[in-house]
């Protein structure tokens, strides 16, 4: 049994840690790149969304390297993410690979018995002691949490750094190093080390950078390749960005939901606009947009893959939020043919707009404010 798992942001690092802790052989997928996408979109159905194409690309490339057990998270609707496992399974079979799939569905969806059976298949293959297995699981969670925290720190501090590009460099360094570590302990060490280094980055507190919230479909915002490295681009412009959705958020929210914990404020904020769940993270997207202004954000950028049904619903609501809360929101839709130049132009234009708005507000608050201040046209951003 050689395990592999898709690149879903930091999930891959957690899965790697888990495999090391369980002493299971594994194939670590390369960070997503144009080859992954080319292979994935060649074999995937034409109209399926971008995340599936990347996940399939990961699986096929790993299968070529000898992986035969695919780990994938599942869901039971209404978004098509739940059908990924079925499609990937059939495609790999058609290509002649003999693979087993371990689909992590929620026990409430597939039944407790099936859930335990699936966990059992993973646990049974591991030679280590049951206590070690639990420890490996705990470590994997700690790793993904730490990674997410590091990312968030880097994205935020980029707006304040004195030497431009330092946060971005550290982010790159830790990402490359952490993929090469040999044991969970080593991974933790690297992460803690880089946590300290990021804290030590000289920051200029007097800077007042633009703050942008990244919202939208979870896969495309946690996997930098699929959103054309939007957060790193923002770092380059000296903009602080914030993103709520992350793998560790997902775990916390999943566990907390039945106990009415988790991101209650977000759900509460989305209720006036979207009362019912539309699948995926459409409700979260709307809630975050509604909260962005109160969180001190200058604007929000929604990213989702072409054809994502829940986010299309969210997108149609965002103009109303824009008007209500007075915060500009831009939507970027990505797929395998997204051109980078046009993408950058739009981001730059959006940032210019945010800057312009800020200057205008400052002027407006000045006692000799111009009398006929032109209102920011909030429609059609």
């Amino acid at each position: 049994m050689v395990v592999t798992f898709p690149n879903m942001g930091n999930v891959a690092i957690a899965a790697k840690t888990l495999c090391q802790g369980l002493a299971l052989p594994y194939v670590m997928p390369e960070t997503n790149n144009s080859k992954t996408l080319a292979v994935g979109s060649y074999y995937a159905p034409e109209e399926i969304c971008l995340p599936f194409k990347l996940i399939l690309g990961n699986f096929i490339l790993a299968a070529r390297q000898g992986a035969d057990t695919m780990w994938i998270t599942g869901s039971c609707g209404p978004c098509r993410f739940g059908e990924y496992c079925e499609l990937a399974m059939r495609t790999l079979k058609k290509l002649g690979y003999r693979t087993d799939f371990v689909v992590a569905d929620l026990s409430s969806d597939v039944g407790v018995k099936e859930f335990i059976r699936r966990i059992g298949t993973v646990a049974a293959a591991s030679p280590v002691h049951p206590v070690e297995k639990l420890r490996a699981l705990r470590l994997a969670y700690q790793v993904v949490e730490l990674c997410d925290r590091l990312d968030a720190k880097a994205y935020e501090r980029a707006g304040y750094e004195v030497h431009k590009g330092e946060c971005r460099r550290l982010l790159h360094e830790y990402k490359t190093k952490v993929r090469k570590t040999e044991s969970p302990e080593e991974t933790m060490e690297v992460l803690q080390d880089y946590g300290r280094r990021l804290d030590a980055v000289p920051a200029d507190k007097s800077k007042n950078p633009l703050n942008v919230s990244i919202i939208g479909e979870i896969f495309t915002i946690i996997d930098p390749f699929s959103n054309l490295y939007i957060e790193e681009k923002l770092m380059g412009y000296g903009v602080s960005s914030k993103r709520m959705l992350s793998p560790s958020w997902w775990v916390k929210n999943m566990i907390g939901k039945p106990f009415r914990l988790g991101s209650r404020d977000v759900y509460k904020a989305s209720d006036p606009y979207l009362k019912y769940s539309v699948g995926g993270h459409g409700k979260e997207c709307v809630g975050e947009a509604a909260l962005a202004k109160a969180q001190g954000m200058d604007g929000a950028i929604q990213v989702f893959p072409l054809g994502c049904m829940p986010e299309v619903v969210a997108k149609s609501i965002l103009p109303v939020i824009q008007e209500d809360k007075g915060i500009p929101i831009m939507t970027l839709i990505v797929d395998e043919v997204t051109g980078e130049a046009g993408y950058i132009t739009r981001i730059e234009a959006f940032l210019d707009l945010l800057k312009g708005r800020r200057n205008q507000n400052q002027k407006a608050s000045h006692p000799r404010a111009a009398l006929n201040m032109r209102q920011f046209p909030s429609k059609g951003v």
């Binding site: 159905p45 034409e46 109209e47 399926i48 969304c49 599942g74 039971c76 609707g77 209404p78 978004c79 098509r80 739940g82 059908e83 496992c85 079925e86 499609l87 399974m89 059939r90 058609k94 799939f101 689909v103 606009y273 979207l274 019912y276 769940s277 539309v278 699948g279 995926g280 459409g282 072409l306 054809g307 994502c308 049904m309 829940p310 299309v312 619903v313 969210a314 997108k315 149609s316 609501i317 103009p319 109303v320 839709i333």
Partner: protein, 303 residues
């Protein structure tokens, strides 16, 4: 009281129920005209760009109706069977129309999670309460509407043609002659009879779904899959024509699953959106029918 009923999306399947229910409650029902170019244009103007064609057309119907009635019946369809869903866009349909179409009359938007009696009667009381305050009258109207819906036969199975094609896809694509450019007439003219996938029993569909690793959580998607596989196995038709709307998430998955299951049984997917040209559509249908004819002439082993 005038209640508007948009002739879009699930109207194709549940119009008898909706009309009877409203009429029995004493409301005057205003139905928008059959889809036409003007309605499509209205829909495209107000709908979010990324939505699929049937959604845009629904917006057009709502836009047409908004000045002509006192309220609109647009239930929020979350699911039609227990613990299953339909397309996620339906869950957010009310938000789509209320945020994109200005000056809407009140919407009767009580959610429907299942068509089972116990749950649907709750919906009826919520929705009917808008027109009629008397609960017993609502219950009576509901029962009559249900009976009328059960009497209604949806779909057709034409005999008397040398060849037969099964139409599979969303009801709002199969039965809306504007969206599908009257594909039935086109096929008939080519000497091909048409059957719709509703001719396959639910039991047979369920038996086919069992072969999947994961039972589809979209009710209708399961029906398309089960019916297509059953039709191909039993040879109920000579080919399958899947009418799919562009950027439909469900179709992107189901066409692939069906194709991988039925092997080399003739199967064609036609994509529909507001730019679909009729000439190209005709060419593809003609090519498909030529292929079917040749297949029948020379025997099935050749293709």
């Amino acid at each position: 009281m005038k209640i508007g009923l948009p002739r879009g999306l699930m109207y194709a399947k549940y119009h008898t129920f909706a009309k009877t229910f409203l009429e029995e409650l004493g409301a005057e029902v205003v139905v928008s005209p059959p889809t036409n170019k003007k309605i499509l244009d209205r829909g495209v103007r107000c709908c979010v760009d990324e939505a699929c064609l049937p959604m845009k057309i629904f917006h057009g119907h709502v836009d047409w109706l908004k000045d002509r009635c006192d309220a609109l019946l647009t239930p929020r369809l979350i699911g039609v069977r227990d613990k299953e869903y339909i397309c996620p866009m339906f869950c957010g349909l009310i938000e789509l129309i209320s945020n994109n179409i200005p000056d809407l009359p009140p919407l009767i938007d009580a959610p429907v999670t299942s068509l089972e009696y116990g749950k649907l009667i709750k919906w009826a009381k919520q929705a009917g309460g808008f027109i009629q305050k008397d609960d017993t009258k609502i219950a009576l109207a509901f029962d009559r509407a249900r009976k009328a819906q059960q009497m209604e036969q949806i779909g057709y199975n034409e005999a008397g043609y040398p060849l037969k094609i099964a139409l599979v896809g969303h009801v709002y694509n199969i039965y809306d002659q504007f969206i599908n450019m009257n594909v039935k007439k086109k096929l008939n003219e080519l000497g091909i009879g048409v059957m719709t996938y509703q001719q396959v029993d639910r039991g047979d569909i369920d038996a086919q779904i069992q072969t999947l690793f994961k039972k589809p959580f979209w009710t209708f998607a399961g029906e398309y899959y089960g019916a297509s596989v059953y039709i191909s196995k039993k040879g109920l038709a000579d080919g399958i024509l899947y009418l799919s709307s562009f950027s439909c998430g469900i179709d992107s998955v189901m066409t692939e699953l069906i194709q991988s299951e039925i092997g080399d049984f003739p199967f064609m997917v036609l994509k529909l959106d507001e730019h679909t040209g009729e000439a190209g559509f005709d060419t593809r249908i003609e090519a498909f029918s030529d292929m079917l004819k040749r297949r029948c002439e020379f025997g099935r082993h050749l293709s």
